[in-house]
Structure formats: C-alpha cells, structure tokens
Symmetry: C2
Subunit: 320 residues, 2 copies
C-alpha cells in the first residue's frame, strides 16, 4: 500500500506491507493548490518515487492520497494530480484521493468512528461516523477562523506585544521573544513596534504561527499575557471539539503541532478532555501512515487490526 499526506509545506509518502510494516518512506515539497505553488502532480510523484525506490512497483496494490485544502475546487485539482502521478509511476490498483482530515483521523485510530481535533497551522474538529465525515467545525484559515491554532496564538501574541509597546496592554516577556524571532535590534518602543510590523507584514500570515512555541514558553514561565493567550487557545479548541458533539464512548484523535508538542495548550486540552470524561485519547503523528492504513482497509474491505495499525502508525501499543 502507498499512503500519501500532502500538506502545504511537505508531502510525505509511506509504503507499507499488509501486516503494517513500513518498507519505504519519501518526502517532497508541499502539494496544496492554495499555498504551495509548483506542480502538485510532480510533488506527489517525487515523494512516491522516493518511497518506492527499493520496492518492486508491481507489488503495489493501491494507495490513498490525502491533501489539505482539497475541499471545493481543490478536490478536483488534487484528484487529477493524484491520477496523473499514479499513472506516470505506472502503479497498479487505484489511487484514491481523500482529505487531510480523513488521513489524520486514520493516523490516530484504526476505527471508523470518533472525533479528530487538530491544531497546527490551522485548527478544526471533525466527527467521523462509519468512516465518513459526519460533521466539521472551523478550519477556516488564518483570517477568519482556525481559532486556537498556532497562527491564531501567534497573531494574538503579536497584537499583545504591540499593545505592550504603546501602552494599551500589560508589559510582557513576549516583547523580547518577538524581537528575537524577527531579529529586531535596539530602539525606542515606537521604533520596535514599526520594525515588528514591517517584519510581520513581510511574511505570509500563516508563517506567524512560528511565534506560538515562544508563547508556550512564556506561559510556562508564568507571563500573565502569554498565559491568557494559551488558556484562551485551549478553550477555543475544546469549544470547537464540543461543537461537533463527540460521543464519550469513541476516541478523540489529537493532531497538529500545537496539540502534539508538550506545553500549556496541549496540557489544558488534555485536562479538558479528562473533565469531559472522554476515555480514549489518541495522537495522529504520521499522516502518511494514516493514509496507508486507509489504503489497507480499502484493499481488505475490513477494519485494520489494532496491532497492524499500531505497527504502521508508530503507536507503541494499540488502545481503543
């Protein structure tokens, strides 16, 4: 089986056997039609041919290719690119395009029911029932949504830095953290604010998520401004999760850098899940392996065995 997880910045591919053993890995640039630029089919081919380099391609039985931003118009674009890449590599079986949500959920559990809560560059929740997306919430991008995501945290923190600099807000160690991140030298408060603005406008808004890990650090050090932001982020994420109405008996899969890195946001979300009496919390660390698991389930027409899923996705022991 071939599994592909095509993100905005990286496309990853995993090739696995039916018992869940990974026999090849590959990576290439992003393949998101909104933000990556370049030829999507070429990126998919590059990641797949790297993963297949030591493998007899005739043994490939099928694949699942997941992509971020593949709803609406992006769906057809990615579907075509997947088919072109599959044909150009002369692979047998079908190449089935799916969304990044399905791939992330499958990376966390072999089951077909449950909820995905993702917070990385973006943020969203999705509920799956019988393997189908039953409901989704947020995931609307840096401008109008993605509440509790790294970008949301980064933008809030930079607003707080500017407010601290001009006196609207409380002083915060985030000022120094922002100066360090954007390599801003000494200067008056107003000069620093203007230099920060210039630096922030010079990068794509989605890149402002790179400030989020520093907000986590500042919150851990007890900075009240940073703590307010991380607390609000966790509350937003839990609210988004609640909105898709998770069933307490089903797993919650956590995905994305904000939830998979240790820190105050991830801790507060875990605490919120405990308060909600959600028993089984899984993590989605390897989207491409999730795609391979979906491909395996599709090939066999049955759920992937927990031990096979655990081997494939790197979960040490199968739970839930």
């Amino acid at each position: 089986m071939v599994g592909v997880d095509a993100g905005a910045t990286t496309t990853r591919c995993v090739v696995a056997t039916v018992d869940g053993t990974i026999v090849g890995r590959g990576a290439a640039g992003g393949a998101n039609h909104n933000s990556s630029g370049g030829d999507i089919a070429e990126r998919l081919k590059a990641a797949m041919s790297q993963a297949l380099s030591d493998i007899d391609r005739r043994a490939v039985a099928g694949g699942i290719l997941g992509a971020a931003g593949s709803s609406g118009a992006g769906r057809a674009i990615f579907g075509t690119a997947s088919a072109v890449a599959w044909r150009d590599l002369d692979l047998s079986g079908d190449a089935v395009p799916v969304t990044d949500l399905e791939v992330a959920f499958a990376a966390g559990t072999a089951g077909t029911d449950g909820v995905l809560l993702l917070s990385g560059t973006g943020a969203l929740a999705a509920r799956f029932a019988a393997g189908e997306l039953a409901r989704r919430c947020d995931g609307y991008g840096w401008l109008l949504g993605d509440e509790g995501s790294a970008v949301w945290i980064g933008v809030r923190a930079l607003r707080a830095v500017l407010a601290a600099l001009d006196g609207r807000g409380a002083p915060t160690v985030l000022v120094d953290a922002a100066k360090e991140l954007f390599a801003i030298g000494p200067g008056s408060a107003e000069e620093t604010a203007q230099a920060l603005l210039t630096a922030a406008f010079a990068c794509p808004p989605a890149a402002l998520g790179s400030f989020a890990p520093r907000v986590d650090v500042a919150a851990e050090q007890g900075d009240p401004v940073a703590r307010r932001i991380t607390t609000a982020a966790a509350a937003k994420l839990l609210h988004t999760l609640d909105t898709v109405e998770p069933d307490p008996g089903q797993p919650v899969v956590l995905a994305g850098s904000v939830l998979l890195s240790p820190g105050p946001v991830a801790r507060a979300v875990h605490a919120g899940l405990t308060r909600r009496d959600i028993g089984t919390v899984r993590t989605a660390r390897d989207g491409a392996a999730g795609a391979a698991a979906l491909a395996l389930a599709r090939l066999t027409g049955a759920a992937v065995r927990p031990d096979v899923h655990a081997r494939l996705t790197g979960h040490e022991r199968p739970r839930g």
Copy 2:
C-alpha cells in the same frame, strides 16, 4: 494655499484663500505607497491640477501635503513625490509633506494641542502638543492592530458569521447580511461558509471594512452578536484614546467613517467621552481642508483664526 490629503483610495486637494474661502477642489486615485499602486507623484499632480484649474498658479504661496502610511520608509517616498509634483506644476513656495494624522487633527481644530481619535479603515489615537505629535497609539494595520476600526469590526463579524454557521456561535442576522454583501446564493450552512471564505479571501483584507456598516445596522436592530462587536469596538477605541492620555481641557478630534457616521459605535464613543468629562469634541470631515489650514498657519506663522478655520473646514460655527 494648497492642501492635499492623500489616502489609500483617494487623494483630495483643496485650494483656499487666506480668509479660508475654498476656491478649488480636486480628487484623484490613492497615493499610499503601501496599498495604492501607481505613481504617487502623478496622483498628487492630478488632484492638484484639477483643484488649480481655475486659478492663477502664480498666486499659490505654499502647500501642505498629508499622506497616510508616510511613516518610516514611506516618509521619504512621499516627500520626494510631493516635491516632484510641486515642481512639475511650477508652483511657488514650499510643499511640506506631513502625516495624515496632522492633517486630520487640523481638519478638526485650529488649535495646536489636543487628541485625534480616528476609526475608519484603520484606527489610532494621537496626542498633539504645540503642533507636534507627542504620542501615538495603535494604527498598526488590519493584521495586528487597528482595534475598533471598520476592518476590525468587519473581520470580527465575519468570524461570528462562520461560528454561527458551524454551531460554535449564536445565530445572528449577520449571516444574511454577509450573504447579501458577498452575493452568496442559497446552500447548506457548510456550503455558505465555504463560499464566504472564498469571497473574503478574494478581496484585500482592508476591504473587509465594507461589512462594518451592516454590523452597525444589525446592532441597531438589537442583534446580540452585532451589539457585542460594536460595544467591543467602542471600548477598544476609548481605551486607545485613554492610552495617549488626553488632557480634559483640550479638544478631542474624531475622524474616520466609523466615528463620523451615526451608529452604535460612534454613539458609544461619544457617551464614553461624556463620561470622561472631555468638553470639546470636534469632527474632522475634510482632511484636505485641514492641510490647507496647516499651510495657512505655516504661511502666517500664527494660529488660524477660528472663523477662518470654520469656513475652511466646513464647521458651521467655531467652537473650542
């Protein structure tokens, strides 16, 4: 005197006599080096030559040209463009470039001391002392500041619309208002959300301020979601004002579409000023006339007489 107010979308010019009578007006496209595109000097020339078309140019004694976004690198760019335009039109006297803040403040008062509170596309407060900018606050643009501006209101309202559509937030009449503004047809809640995102991402973020007047209307109709946003906008603006520490004895000049249009934000800001016992509230309706007033004061070396200032800027009777 020649007064010019160069904004992001429009450049306006006023030509006035020393007694404050306006003898010429002109307008052209925007002349903001960050957002307008095109040749700034050509835009300035177009607005000025239109305003000077019925006037003997040899009678021009000098001019003030104010520009938004003319701090930092923009200052030198706008200064050069001003000098080029002035020379090409063969005008005598000096053309002095200033910021849009000075021009807006001068449009509201002939005095040299007081505070400007602006909320239009952007939002900021500035305190002037002896004609010089003594302190400023916010005005950082749509991404990281401009709190309480039309864009801030529009973005918050669109976030609330998406939250209403996916169940995170309360229902609101803003959903229909957004569908109307962006000409979105019937569809499921998720289809509407995706169509709104596509439409919102298709316009420059600063243009999302066009949603703000509809938020005002919805708040007037009692929509709780809209009211929460307009109340928050007014609170942000008053907080920004407080931060520059206005002197109760000195005028507050209000500028920008959000504060000069009747509606809940303007009303709440006026109420807040009354609570703060700020006696003299003026409005800045004509930035180009403010620039002409500055040019007159510069020419005579004295403050502009209140009656002359009132005639020039269209204030019916001079106060403060």
